[in-house]
């Protein structure tokens, strides 16, 4: 009897520990969200989202150019990264045991763990120094490098989920390997691929160091991809560390906008996954 009681106590203890830990993770996120929301919401109105930044002390400065800059650079990064990642994932899926695949998988994992500051420095030395110009283009390339390993690894997992029985059915029908990849495997995994890309976009949108070192920032509208470009994370970094109260308030507003975008991307990805899973 005593034994049974001990087991019950131990089980209860462990379960409470798990619940508390899970709770802590949720509480941390909720606290951050709550704090940013409380400090930031008062700054946000239509003008804040659409206007250019204003000098210290001048009313009505906005983050319009940083929003567009972030959008353009994340978009560029996605455009560069997605074709590379899909091609790589198809290769990894089709030749899972080849030496190149093993190497590529290892390289992707290492690259995913490289600090984003280092990625920024690399692009700074290769593109910015050589062209003598901070630019949205360099920012896009840096974000692409951050996204590549994340999308490649998730895309490979998604392609692997297409069961062997279906691949064989396709081959047995007289489909070539290419036809099997493009007509069966890619469409079959499309939902998961989109989710992986969305999560990588969310990750890239919040990256600070890579864009700080490659696109720097700007207080004007973006005219070409060859000029210094503002972005949300860099704007937050500048405003939050400035000594001016109105800029600090705007940093909270910008942080709220950025977190809202990232949260929306994550939630959309989850919903999308739930919907595609229910269909099959």
């Amino acid at each position: 009897m005593k034994n049974r009681r001990q087991r019950k106590v131990a089980g209860l203890l462990f379960e409470s520990l798990c619940v508390v830990s899970a709770g802590l993770a949720t509480v941390a996120l909720s606290l951050i969200l709550y704090y940013i929301f409380r400090r930031g919401i008062s700054t946000i109105d239509f003008g804040f989202l659409t206007r250019l930044p204003a000098p210290v002390g001048v009313e009505g400065g906005g983050i319009g150019n940083a929003l567009i800059g972030s959008g353009i650079m994340v978009g560029l990064g996605t455009l560069i990264a997605v074709p590379i990642c899909l091609a790589a994932a198809i290769y990894l899926d089709q030749n899972p045991d080849s030496k190149i695949a093993t190497l590529a998988r290892f390289a992707s994992r290492v690259l995913a763990g490289v600090p984003s500051m280092v990625v920024g420095l690399f692009v700074f030395s290769q593109l910015v120094l050589r062209s003598g110009q901070y630019s949205a283009l360099a920012g896009g390339v840096a974000l692409a490098i951050v996204m590549v390993p994340v999308i490649t690894l998730s895309a490979e997992e998604m392609l692997k989920l297409v069961p062997n029985s279906q691949r064989e059915a396709s081959i047995a029908l007289g489909a070539t390997r290419q036809q099997t990849v493009f007509r069966l495997i890619l469409p079959g995994a499309a939902g998961g691929l989109v989710v992986g890309i969305m999560l990588a976009v969310a990750l890239a949108a919040g990256q600070t160091a890579p864009v700080l070192l490659t696109a720097l920032t700007s207080r004007f509208w973006l005219e070409t991809l060859q000029q210094p470009t503002a972005s949300l994370p860099v704007l937050i970094y500048h405003y939050a560390t400035s000594p001016f109260a109105d800029w600090q308030a705007q940093a909270w507003g910008a942080a709220l906008v950025l977190v809202a975008i990232i949260l929306a991307l994550n939630v959309t990805a989850q919903l999308f996954l739930a919907i595609t899973n229910r269909r099959t």
Partner: protein
């Protein structure tokens, strides 16, 4: 057009393991040939050699010949992709393409091979679904996903999909293994229909099924073809003691 399948002195290796040993077997057109034998005896491998699906795995090697009609399809000169269009295969687990509708599951082969266009596709899809005894059940739901059908319906959908590309030979690898008795009965009736136009080779673990649907039965044991004969004869009066032992549950 149904074509005879003739396997002559065929051996097959995975790496250094010999899986098939000098197998010879002739399957006549418009007949059902059943391959029986214990799990792992090589009967599925033999089936997969006929449409060269085994080549998808690395490190395989074969010897001997398999002819369909007059053509030695084990020769390197034969393009396996082209061969697989001529040899339909039905798997143990129904495998409709989950992202495609019922209609597209049947049409996919036609599109892959550019065999039909426009209205001709719809006509051909209907014909194949009718032949696969599925048309009446799905004719109002052609746009629904094929994966939403029942297991038995999915298997008939796979048969319709294979029919669409006009094969000469049908290979079936335990097509009823995952189906309930009613689904099984439906597939068996269908096989008897298909027999009028095709050569059918079926792997089955179900002895009753073999005796119900096949004209000829071959018993495979440890990669060897032990005995082949008209089904009734093989079941009632097996010549080889090993066949008799298997049929009376003494081995396998």
């Amino acid at each position: 057009m149904a074509q005879a399948v003739t396997i002559e002195n065929f051996s097959f290796w995975f790496g250094t393991t010999q899986v098939l040993k000098n197998v010879s077997l002739a399957a006549s057109p418009r007949q059902v040939t059943a391959l029986i034998g214990p799990s792992g005896c090589g009967k599925t491998t033999l089936l997969r050699c006929i449409n060269r699906m085994h080549e998808l795995q690395p490190g395989t090697r074969s010897q001997g010949s398999i002819t369909i009609g007059e053509e030695d399809i084990s020769s390197p000169a034969v393009d396996p992709v082209d061969l697989r269009r001529r040899v339909g295969m039905i798997f143990q687990r129904p495998s409709p393409f989950p992202h495609l509708s019922i209609f597209e599951n049947v049409a996919v082969g036609l599109r892959l091979h550019g065999m039909a266009h426009g209205r001709a596709i719809a006509e051909r899809v209907e014909m194949c679904l009718r032949k696969a005894a599925l048309w009446d059940e799905v004719k109002d739901d052609l746009d629904r996903l094929g994966a939403l059908l029942s297991g038995g319906q999915q298997q008939r959908l796979c048969i319709a999909r294979a029919l669409a590309v006009e094969p000469e030979v049908f290979l079936m690898d335990e097509p009823c293994a995952s189906l309930d008795p009613v689904g099984t009965m439906r597939i068996e009736e269908l096989i008897k229909e298909l027999q009028h136009e095709y050569t059918v080779i079926i792997v089955t673990h179900n002895m009753h099924q073999a005796s119900r649907i096949s004209d000829q039965t071959a018993f495979v044991l440890n990669g060897e073809l032990v005995e082949t004969g008209p089904t009734a004869q093989l079941f009632l009066a097996p010549q080889d003691p090993r066949t008799e032992a298997y049929l009376t549950w003494k081995i396998g």
